[in-house]
């Protein structure tokens, strides 16, 4: 589904990603862990198409297309979804209006008829139930005055509505209490199916107790230096990153 080869990316002429390789197939859940400043959020931003990041080398192929040639909205149309680490507050745009516009724009991109108001509301209610979202939030301005937990839950709710092929969760777990984390994780688990994939970027293995990954990667200084199964997350939790770094240095 997604193939990243030798990806180099920089912001303000400062190289962040320095030769990253990653392949994700349909049905898989990948977790990327790593210390602060290793490039985790940069990877998420580059995948979503944030213009401030410049790709200087390498390639990203998504479902056979060169992702780097696509605008952010086209990537969403292709099925990429980024759950933001810091969701943006947009006063004056209601969540409902925003989601209806987004959903129908994506449908248009895929050559589908737009949903009418009734079909849309039905879908909205169905998905709100899964994420245990209070429907009164939908009438409020997007994320405005939402608590940290509400914002994160709203991200996963948007994901449920837009049904992406590849969802990237950028530190969705940070700032969530245990109940909110469980709801978010359950939401993700309900949306998991053999046709889609998830990339979970996190500092902590806590979320991975609820969402079982197929692969865990360690990102360090802009490269993936170790990949293994879900047991790696627990090992990192108890032992920290230093031993992986040492291994990588020895290997290099």
């Amino acid at each position: 589904m997604l193939k990243i080869e030798n990806l180099h990316a920089q912001i303000d002429n400062k190289p962040i990603l320095k030769g990253l390789n990653l392949e994700i197939r349909a049905g898989e859940v990948h977790a990327i862990m790593g210390p602060n400043g290793s490039g985790k959020s940069t990877l998420a931003s580059v995948l979503a198409g944030k213009e401030a990041y410049e790709v200087t080398e390498g390639s990203i192929t998504f479902l056979g297309k060169n992702l780097l040639e696509l605008a952010p909205e086209e990537r969403a149309g292709e099925g990429i979804f980024l759950a933001f680490q810091h969701p943006i507050e947009i006063p004056g745009v209601t969540t409902t209006n925003f989601l209806k516009t987004a959903l129908n724009e994506i449908r248009k991109y895929r050559g589908l008829e737009p949903l009418d108001a009734i079909q849309f509301l039905k879908l909205l209610k169905e998905k709100a139930k899964i994420l245990q979202i209070d429907e009164s939030l939908m009438k409020r301005s997007l994320n405005e005055g939402f608590s940290g937990g509400e914002k994160k839950r709203n991200e996963i709710f948007q994901m449920a509505m837009l049904e992406p092929r590849l969802a990237i969760l950028d530190e969705t777990d940070s700032g969530l209490d245990i109940d909110a984390l469980r709801i978010v994780a359950e939401g993700v688990n309900k949306l998991r199916n053999p046709q889609n994939a998830f990339l979970i970027i996190t500092h902590f293995q806590r979320i991975l107790e609820y969402i079982q990954p197929d692969f865990v990667h360690v990102l360090y200084e802009g490269k993936i230096i170790k990949s293994a199964g879900k047991e790696l997350a627990k090992e990192l939790e108890t032992k920290g990153y230093d031993w992986v770094k040492a291994e990588a240095v020895a290997g290099a």
């Binding site: 213009e51 980024l82 006063p91 925003f98 987004a102 724009e105």
Partner: protein
């Protein structure tokens, strides 16, 4: 230079033998006044040189003008008045029966203006106020008697016809005690003619009266418009001003509210959304002269292409006006490198027990918000539009008449 200016005001000069004292006074002031230039601090960013380069003729009452073409289906169920070149077109009027309404000349003839004509208007230092007071012949006198509550807004179309025409209009709105009304002014033109219009409206809001006064300025011709709205509020009254500026070659709006009674509420909302080379200058003043009143002002501007906005907001809190709450905000978005906004809040506070604040911000469209919307599949054009509408919404949603909210929203 002087000769040209004489020529400009001579356009309006009339030779009637009978001139009231106040008009004579205005003519006298005019002898020492001239069209303001950017050297005048109050006109620093609005240059009227173009006004003096044209040869103007006094506008006539057009005989074959079809005002209906401008009527908005979006604003049904209102009372109606139509002015073309300042001339009242009475055949279109739809009016309530419980108000007093007549033309300016009739009101003047019958002595109705006695207590109101230029009562609080700056004549000796303001060229256009003096010009209007000296020579304006057209306009209306509207009195909403005590306790009358208008069941529908009064919609007033201001239209123009003819090229290089100029006109003056003078209006009076007397909102008597415990009356309630909403007036919506629509300034529209789709033509390519050149017009100079100066309108002065004197508004008196009596004790416990409520008046909402809206303006939609959307003249796409080459309009030079200088508009003064002079308001006096007495105790416990409410005055709300809502100004939407969507087009205009050179438009200057003076909105002056004098709070002459306690426990008044004054709201001043403005939204400018300009393209092309439109130039809008908002000068507002809220003058707290008595204690315990509240004023709140929010002017927002979106400036595209080569458009220009000017905002000057004065708040005076006089020594006597203790316990005043006065707030002001001016927020602007510039959409192009060629667009500009000159903003200047001016607070002068002589009382010590007051709550006042002001703020001005100018920036581009929020890039982070734009990316957020695009990352959800929304195209850049639609995302920009959503954000602009959201920015404007804060002002639009305050407007008292819901169909007007929708009408404005659809124009953006």
């Amino acid at each position: 230079m002087v000769a040209t200016e004489k020529k400009f005001q001579d356009t309006f000069f009339t030779t009637e033998s009978e001139k009231s004292e106040i008009r004579q006074k205005a003519i006298h002031f005019l002898e020492h006044l001239q069209i303001p230039t950017p050297k005048n601090e109050e006109w620093k960013y609005t240059n009227l040189k173009g006004l003096q380069n044209e040869i103007w003729v006094l506008a006539q009452n057009p005989t074959d003008f079809h005002a209906e073409q401008y009527f908005l289906a979006d604003l049904p169920d209102t009372y109606l008045m139509v002015f073309v070149n300042g001339f009242w077109q009475e055949k279109y009027s739809v009016l309530p029966t419980n108000i007093e309404l007549c033309s300016l000349s009739e009101a003047e003839k019958e002595g109705k203006l006695q207590n109101f004509f230029a009562k609080k208007l700056n004549l000796d230092k303001d060229y256009f106020n003096a010009l209007n007071t000296a020579f304006a012949k057209n306009g209306y006198f509207l009195r909403i008697p005590a306790k009358v509550v208008l069941d529908k807004p009064l919609l007033i179309y201001h239209l123009s016809s003819g090229d290089k025409v100029s006109y003056l209009q003078r209006n009076f709105i007397i909102a008597e005690s415990h009356s309630e009304s909403t007036i919506i002014n629509l300034y529209l033109s789709e033509a390519e003619n050149t017009v100079f219009a100066n309108e002065v409206t004197e508004i008196f809001v009596a004790e416990n009266a409520r008046l909402s006064y809206c303006k939609v300025q959307n003249e796409k011709n080459k309009i030079y418009r200088v508009d003064t709205t002079q308001v006096e509020q007495l105790a416990n009254s409410y005055f709300g001003s809502y100004t939407f500026s969507l087009a205009g070659h050179i438009v200057r709006n003076n909105l002056n509210v004098l709070i002459e009674g306690e426990y008044c509420e004054t709201l001043m909302y403005g939204l400018s959304f300009l393209k092309g080379k439109s130039h809008i200058d908002h000068h507002t003043l809220v003058d707290h002269r008595k204690p315990n009143s509240y004023s709140n002002e929010l002017y927002k501007g979106i400036f595209a292409e080569s458009s220009t906005g000017v905002f000057n907001g004065k708040i005076y809190v006089r020594p006597e006006a203790q316990k005043t709450n006065a707030y002001q905000q001016n927020r602007n978005v510039l959409l192009s490198e060629q667009a500009s906004i000159y903003t200047k809040p001016q607070l002068e506070i002589w009382a010590d027990d007051v709550k006042c604040s002001h703020g001005a911000t100018t920036g581009k469209l929020d890039e982070a918000a734009l990316f957020y919307l695009r990352s959800r599949g929304i195209s850049e054009t639609i995302a920009r539009n959503l954000l602009l509408k959201a920015f404007a919404q804060e002002v639009i949603e305050k407007t008292p008449f819901e169909p007007l909210q929708e009408y404005i929203s659809n124009l953006l």
